[in-house]
Subunit: 247 residues, 4 copies
């Protein structure tokens, strides 16, 4: 057992967060976004002092909500029976760079991985994509051998941040990325479960994109900008008409 | 709450229609034609004064039949807790143009969307298609930026009507269309549930068409006209031999 | 009600056969080889006087075993509430040409239909195929417009018989065929349920064949003859080593 | 009944092994890696004197754990009601060549078979693959007609051994192979069930590889060596960081 103690005032919030993160991890399996113990979901406390994340490589039927691992954003482990997911340093870096981000998911869902493995963005071919991601879902550059041999998971997070900065992409408008030769990271500014729902959306959009290529014998062009804008803004922002508002 | 009052004589019919439309919306999920709250089904009263449609963006487990939204064909909302689907103006336009139409479905089913995203008709490659759609399922032209920035959902309906008129397609013989870079709309002249069943048929036919292209390395030709005619008329019209007739 | 009476001595055999055929039809849906009321399975009495087949176009949840339709091999209907499947004349012709055949299935399973729609045989790419079908699964020639406009379902059966005769294919060694631009017919010399199991095998083999083309960018060659022969004879014939024999 | 008697001291171990092998065979069906009675799983006693394997061609609903077949590594059958899987001689040869191997699985899973049927290795396109297989999953050379006509299943094992020897592949680092024009064999140095889990992993990795080819129009390159090494060693060997260690 690690020696770091969670302050008493966090106990209730962390208990609730562990339940949320646990349920969100189970949903990954139910949605068929992962097999075995692949994938991981995390959440964060309101003051962003603690992250809760799935343990590394433990079978789901051996886990309870209480087994979710608590770390701080420097990756120190607090009062946890298990080691956190090996990808935890990627999560913490994304949380630090995005002070409003509430949940992060990493999956190996097949269609999104296919784009990641081919090193390509998922192009915005239509409104299903535009309703959820404003522009292509970017595939980050490959890590260098030095980045891989060093703090690999931390460097994975750095390359994601670099991609969004260099390409001027908004983490809120495009809540997902592909790590090259690896797979997707997806996030939410609402909750861990919302991030999992977005991971299912990403997988569906990726499957549609592959089939769009098939239908057109690899000759499809991306959706027209006016349509992409209309659909994105129909669901997001202050003039959104989709969903229910206070009347 | 909106102020429009449903006249007392409609209460019973609308209660029943809400149940039909609710069950039909649930079927969309069961058939895996949509994920999350995507897609929508509507129905219409016998005198075509009121449409009942799914609310916009509310999770299915929060909905009951009574939460289905009532509008008239001018898109005024009547005594409803929720906003209707954003696509409601496309539905009302199709109902107005087709005085016998009884149910309309919009989905984001993957294989049909692939054709819509590539801007192609679903070709009639065989009898599974011809049993249900007499000729290709047409993909409408792209909306212009002006049409998109204007009354978008209404204009979507107009482009569908234009496509069927210009190409001389019968809404009854071909009960589905693709909206370019978007997805399918499907309808029925029997009931909302029948429209959902036809949406599953469309998705299956679209999947078959993609795989037909794969098998032939994109060299398939469409089914011969005599066969298409025979199969369509075997199931439809006064000389149909498929199914059960009064004996 | 039709006036033809089933002789009393057949009542018990036909009751049992109706149950077998009913269960086999339900299995088509469970195996996902059809949606809705698509597809049909038939069986035959021992003396080959009566065929039992699914009614045409009745929803499964409205059917019981007793609703299966009884005909003779000249397509006369006996004491049945419903019309038989429209494809019944194809079934009766195959039974007449094959005095040992015990069950026939017609499906619209997606991968097999893809080959039928592209007018291609399913090539024997490996042992999964060779274990079950000795050589390619043949795609019959297209019917002529005259054959389509005439006794269409009867002519469909004739074209299958012509294909097996002209290409010198054994109905026992290759228990399936594709009707061009339509879909598969599959049979068994054991039972209606065994024919349904073979229809699932055919669909799986067809899916493998499409993916084999994908993997090789349409450059795969068929399995070597010695391997095909070994696998077929490992499961079939007097020197078979697969399965359980009396010891 | 064969006359070979299992020595009394093995009864308990073999009873337990039969249960493990039975459960692992059922998992093949649950994971959708096989249909019907296809595929087989085996396990081995601690002293490697007895193998337990699925019977050949018996429906799962007729089998209990006790029906699993016991053989020695020379393929003699001991006190078993049924014949073993026809592939048993391939299993025994792999066990003899690998003194630590604990379980072997043969499936006809669709995506892995597609690579086997096209005679291609499954390339390592990304980290999902590298986490589990260190380098490509090799496709063995075709058997010669003489090898096929001779001791076919034994020769299948010999060709697998030849492939791993000639290409200098470690059975522990790459726990799967493809038999050309046939399908995958997968193994584990832990247990029969672990081998089945790896067979599911292989199928998923194969599906990802096919879709990666689709996304890139057959132009994908394999993952960079530094990344493959990092991921493999993150999960395997003495410096592994994945999963839970004694602390």
């Amino acid at each position: 057992m690690n020696k770091n103690i969670i302050p008493a005032e966090y106990k209730e919030e962390i208990k609730k967060l562990k339940e949320e993160v646990y349920e969100a991890n189970l949903k990954l399996v139910e949605y068929k976004l992962v097999i075995h113990t692949w994938g991981n979901v995390s959440g964060i406390t309101k003051d962003r002092k603690f992250m809760v994340i799935k343990p590394s490589g433990v079978a789901y039927d051996l886990l309870s909500a209480d087994d979710m691992v608590v770390t701080d954003l420097e990756n120190n482990i607090y009062e946890s029976k298990y080691n956190p997911s090996v990808d935890a340093p990627t999560h913490t870096l994304l949380y630090k760079a995005n002070p409003d981000m509430k949940g992060i998911v990493h999956t190996h869902s097949v269609n999104a991985v296919a784009f990641a493995q081919s090193g390509q963005d998922i192009p915005c071919y239509g409104t299903t994509h535009a309703d959820n991601f404003y522009g292509p879902v970017p595939c980050a550059r490959a890590l260098t051998p030095e980045e891989i041999d060093g703090e690999y998971e931390h460097n994975t997070g750095l390359v994601i941040l670099e991609t969004f900065k260099n390409r001027n992409i908004d983490f809120k408008a495009t809540p997902a990325t592909l790590v090259k030769e690896h797979g997707p990271f997806v996030w939410s500014f609402k909750s861990p479960m919302d991030a999992v729902n977005m991971a299912l959306t990403l997988e569906t959009v990726a499957e549609m994109a592959i089939k769009t290529s098939m239908v057109s014998n690899f000759k499809s062009s991306t959706a027209q900008p006016a349509l992409v804008k209309r659909h994105y803004l129909r669901k997001h922002g202050k003039n959104a008409t989709y969903g229910q508002k206070a009347k």
